[in-house]
């Protein structure tokens, strides 16, 4: 590598600190009148050609920019594992069991309103997709699960989802208030022990 002379170094430094693409005339204000500026710019552009940072000329102005193939480095996407909220999980379950369903239908089954963000999260996850509109007044959007949903949950089809009888057998249909009563009684006892 040829050692850059001081004029070349000055041009390089001036280009580096410039706030915006800079014309040779503006560069002259910094690096002075002596020195072959066009030659220096070409030499520098050559030097930086194969590197991570390139010197480019756009409409008579020069600036350093990162090589275009490295955009992914500068804007890196990072996956962050996150657990679905309870509301999202319930909404997903209703869509899976009842698809295609509208938001109003989901709310009717859940007995609770569905927040806007909940469906957004499910769509972002790729497990839920819009499946057209219901041909009723208001033409509400209807939702269904996706192929990604099946593969993520290890199902070959929606028919693999356990039916109501399976759920009951697994104790998953036990009324919640009974379970709560059990908990309540327990905590009272614990308090009495104090």
């Amino acid at each position: 590598m040829i050692e850059p002379d001081d004029f070349l170094r000055a041009v390089e430094a001036a280009l580096f600190v410039a706030e915006a693409p800079i014309t040779p005339a503006e560069l002259r204000l910094h690096v002075g009148e002596r020195g072959d500026l066009p030659a220096a710019l070409v030499t520098l552009a050559d030097h930086y050609a194969g590197r991570g940072v390139n010197l480019v000329e756009r409409g008579g102005r020069w600036h350093f920019q990162t090589a275009s193939d490295l955009a992914h480095v500068l804007r890196r996407e990072k996956d962050e594992p996150r657990k679905l909220s309870r509301a999202a999980m319930e909404t997903l379950a209703i869509i899976a069991y009842h698809e295609p369903v509208s938001r109003a239908e989901i709310e009717a089954i859940r007995g609770v309103q569905v927040a806007k963000g909940t469906l957004d999260v499910l769509m972002e996850s790729g497990w839920v997709r819009p499946a057209g509109r219901r041909e009723v007044p208001g033409r509400p959007l209807i939702y269904a699960t996706s192929v990604e949903f099946l593969s993520h949950f290890g199902l070959s089809s929606r028919r693999d989802l356990p039916g109501m009888d399976d759920l009951r057998a697994a104790g998953l249909l036990d009324p919640i208030d009974l379970a709560l009563e059990g908990l309540g009684g327990q905590s009272v006892l614990e308090n009495d022990d104090d």
Binding site: A13, F16, V17, A18, E19, A20, T66, L74, R75, R76, E77, K78, D79, E80, P81, R82, K83, L84, R86, M89, E90, L92, A93, I94, A96, Y97, I109, R110, G111, V121, E124, S125, W127, H152, F153, G154, L155, L161, P162, M164, L167, A170, L172, L173, D174, P175, I176, D177
Partner: protein, 265 residues
């Protein structure tokens, strides 16, 4: 420390001695600062400084200063008094010296001057370094690195099924069935008490008329029903009840034939 001295320039009376400082008084940040400046006029390494000579310099300076400006900052006068004391101690015969020894006090002063000088020198060298934004420059408008965090949602099949089960359980129509509680009815109690009281010739506690399984859930119900049964049988004149006081045990016995109905106790 130069409070009260204002912007006035104070110069020493014209005494052109080479080791004399003739600069404004508010040039100094305090007695130590002034002492260091005086010490450096000795033009020797601070480790070689003569504390006696320095004391002379300082006291001369303060003397001169007072001729012009009486309101000298107290700190400077305190230092002057301390140095005068140090000087006289250093000149005293050794055996009359106090503790700490004047030599140690002088050495301490010397070390303080060395330390201040060292830091003053270090500050100057630090400031003279190539500083970012003055001597070296970074890019003025870097694009910045961006880290876009993308959520990778996780959930498993069990959570999904369980969630659905809970919705269904929560929204099922609730059917209330009233559990049959183990109780002794009043009729049962009346039968039992009236049958038993016939065999009891003397006062007998109410509890004796209860069924034997007293620990069972029925016990309280049996006690309450038996009490009401006793009241009813007493009203009918078939037995008598006696109690010595509130919350005392209740005693029952079969009524004697001459007792009038309804007469209790």
């Amino acid at each position: 420390m130069n409070n009260g001295l204002g912007e006035d320039l104070f110069t020493l009376p014209a005494m052109p001695r080479p080791d004399m400082l003739t600069v404004s008084f508010d040039h100094w940040e305090g007695p130590l600062d002034l002492l260091l400046s005086l010490a450096r006029t000795q033009k020797v390494d601070l480790r070689e400084i003569s504390i006696l000579a320095l004391t002379e310099q300082y006291l001369d300076f303060i003397d001169g200063a007072q001729q012009v400006k009486l309101e000298l900052a107290a700190d400077y006068l305190v230092m002057a008094a301390w140095l005068a004391y140090l000087k006289s101690s250093l000149l005293l015969p050794r055996q009359e010296q106090a503790d700490p020894s004047p030599e140690e006090m002088a050495l301490r002063l010397q070390l303080r001057l060395q330390r201040l000088h060292a830091m003053r020198d270090a500050a100057a060298r630090l400031m003279a370094r190539d500083r970012v934004g003055r001597d070296v420059f970074t890019r003025r408008k870097p694009e910045g690195l961006r880290l876009v965090r993308k959520a990778l949602w996780r959930a498993n099949l069990y959570d999904l099924i369980q969630a659905y089960g809970q919705i269904r359980a929560r929204t099922q129509p609730v059917v209330h069935t009233i559990a049959k509680r183990p109780v002794m009815t009043l009729d049962e109690a009346i039968q039992r008490v009236s049958a038993l009281v016939g065999t009891a010739l003397d006062w007998t506690r109410l509890e004796a008329f209860l069924p034997p399984d007293l620990d069972s859930p029925r016990a309280k119900s049996a006690l309450a029903s038996s009490f009401v049964a006793a009241l009813e049988l007493a009203r009918q004149g078939r037995l008598e009840i006696q109690q010595d006081g509130i919350f005392q045990p209740l005693y029952l016995r079969a009524a004697t034939p001459q007792d009038a109905p309804g007469q209790i106790l």
